[in-house]
Assembly symmetry: C2
Homo-oligomer: 172 residues x 2
């Protein structure tokens, strides 16, 4: 009985740990959603700071980055692979034919929905398995390159750019 109690306790701990992390990811994600509902569309064409990325570029960048979680966790292919070239591999203003803000907001919601649903189906021990971009050999050398680390690093990545988006000044 004692063993079973400890087992259940540790299972509960592992489950609560991962739920807390998923909540943190969702909170940062929701803050991005709220930010892009705050101003009129035109405001997001502004640079967040002189000579820096435009807010609309940062939204595309965050979509592309979050979309990349899907293949890394073995959930699915990227939903919008074309965004990688425009918003991750190249800087702002490298392309003139970017998707509209309305389209990007729609992509953001779809990627978020797919991730949120998939996250809840991953079991605690599976979060400690290797992500798909690391080989079995490299994973043995560095077991930190697991799925959990992807979730944490993409949580802080959202936070990093939220700090920058907060500097956006609305056009008069």
């Amino acid at each position: 009985m004692k063993d079973l109690a400890i087992t259940e306790t540790n299972q509960a701990i592992a489950a609560q740990f991962i739920q807390t992390l998923i909540n943190a990811w969702s909170a940062q994600n929701k803050a991005v959603t709220n930010f892009f509902q705050k101003y009129e569309d035109a405001a997001y064409q502004n640079e967040v700071s002189p000579g820096r990325n435009r807010a609309i570029y940062l939204l595309g960048h965050l979509i592309s980055s979050n979309d990349g979680i899907l293949p890394l966790l073995g959930i699915s292919e990227r939903l919008y692979p074309e965004l990688n070239e425009k918003f991750s591999l190249n800087p702002d203003r490298a392309f003139t034919d970017l998707p509209t803000l309305a389209k990007l907001k729609q992509y953001w919601e779809t990627v978020t929905q797919n991730l949120t649903e998939a996250f809840t189906n991953i079991q605690p021990h599976e979060w400690l398995e290797k992500h798909t971009a690391v080989s079995r050999e490299d994973f043995l050398l560095n077991p930190n390159r697991n799925k959990l680390n992807i979730l944490i690093s993409r949580t802080t990545h959202q936070s990093y750019h939220l700090g920058q988006l907060a500097f956006l000044v609305k056009k008069d």
Copy 2:
């Protein structure tokens, strides 16, 4: 035997979860340390973006915020309680007698050392206990207000301001 194996597996999972999170906190912390070693001292007197906080203020703010983790986790009192007034409760330029950059860097290292040492001594199940700023009654209503959540939110807080610090332009 099977129960024991599961127990050990779940203990290992919980331990690896918390270690991954501590690593994430340390990585963001180290990025702040590196940022403040990058330029000459005078550069950190600049605003990170026009009309926004100076880099030196953001360092004080991050020290004050991290220092606040010590009482929240029940480790100790704040090491530098006077920073709370200057860097958390009030905006930049509210005070003219701020500590020097050299002093702040020293405080930063000391707070980081104290936290890093304390983190490794907290057992996995203890991270799910309530932090000290929430009452037992409120904790029952929202068990998410635990020590783990403090660690995660202060990790993303470091990341948020790192994104802003990255905008600092060196004075010519």
